[in-house]
Symmetry: C2
Subunit: 214 residues, 2 copies
């Protein structure tokens, strides 16, 4: 019984049965022991999920496939592949939003994002920008992943559509004016647009805190 073994078992259950089934009791069963034994190696379930996420990130290919393109395009490719990988496991993305990742897999990703970002913006903006980009990518993965993998997502969207249709120009003029364009765009179109917004925004927005404070 080792932490590596526990995390490996957790990833196996994750892939075969989903995150809901990755419980201390289920893992203990898988490893032929009692749930209490696991607490020698992981602090709690949040801790376990952090290890799982980092293991997943280690498997992410961060090497550049299109070195001839500019830093923005390369970042969009990298971040999109991160979103795609994480969206497979939206529950882990949600955990990462709440527990700050700090494992080698995450540091590796941060380093790569910083390397690309530094080509286009100054160091102070890069320092805050990397966090903004990865925070956005993570929450996008949680959102997209949940919608893609949940049977309730359709009913959910129906409710939003019904709410939009019920809007009259008198009650909500701006919503009524835009109408269904509020919901337009294939999932990935919006994700890519959002990354461009962030990159252009970072390049065009100076940090507002006192430079001497660093």
């Amino acid at each position: 019984l080792t932490r590596e073994g526990i995390v490996a078992a957790a990833l196996a259950v994750l892939r075969s049965e989903g995150l809901e089934r990755v419980t201390m009791r289920r893992l203990a069963q898988e490893l032929d022991t009692g749930p209490a034994s696991l607490y020698v190696y992981v602090r709690n379930t949040a801790d376990l999920r952090a290890y799982m996420l980092d293991e997943l990130l280690m498997g992410l290919d961060v090497t550049d496939t299109t070195p001839e393109r500019d830093w923005r395009a390369q970042l969009v490719v990298l971040l999109t592949s991160y979103v795609r990988a994480l969206a497979e496991h939206p529950g882990l993305a949600l955990s990462a939003l709440v527990t700050r990742p700090s494992g080698p897999g995450y540091l590796n990703l941060v380093e790569r994002v910083l390397a690309l970002l530094s080509q286009g913006v100054d160091a102070r903006r890069a320092a805050w920008g990397v966090d903004l980009l990865l925070h956005h990518a993570t929450s996008t993965a949680a959102e997209q992943g949940t919608w893609a993998h949940s049977p309730e997502a359709d009913a959910d969207e129906d409710r939003v559509l019904a709410a939009l249709r019920a809007v009259t120009p008198e009650t909500y003029p701006h919503i009524a004016a835009l109408g269904m364009d509020l919901m337009s765009g294939e999932g990935l179109d919006r994700v890519v647009w959002a990354f461009h917004v962030l990159l252009n925004g970072i390049a065009g927005t100076e940090r507002t805190d006192d430079p001497a404070a660093d």
Copy 2:
């Protein structure tokens, strides 16, 4: 027993004991009935949380306090107050990330954001921008709120700091070069900067999908 009554009881427990205690069983106890009775009025816990969130949003003041300032500044004020309100209940923010809100409280907020956004950008960008802004605000509230209210947050930050200190210029040159500036900034400084990044980005990034597709 009505849905309004159930939601009101839920909000009372939320405020006095936190979201973890807002369970079907706890609510049933509060309302002197069995948990099964609640399922006549709410589909499940996700549904209940959606009602709770919308009730909370109804209490959000979206009227403008600084009409003399430009649309960007007004949006930053509005979005910051949304983040502040939601960060009080990070669990609800997390739910909103996964279940699309569609109640009157949310529509009210969307209308207000659209009204301000329309002063600065074209309708197509406003349509996608409002979702991007509120998605970011929601996930920021979940993140900030959890850190602010969780006793484990400190240990979490210590781990990140230790990981950063352990970085050498050989392994992660860009991380090492930025050092502790990666973690700089008071919570709110970064939140405000992020909103400026988004607003500048939206203003400076055309939508990439086919305009005829609307």
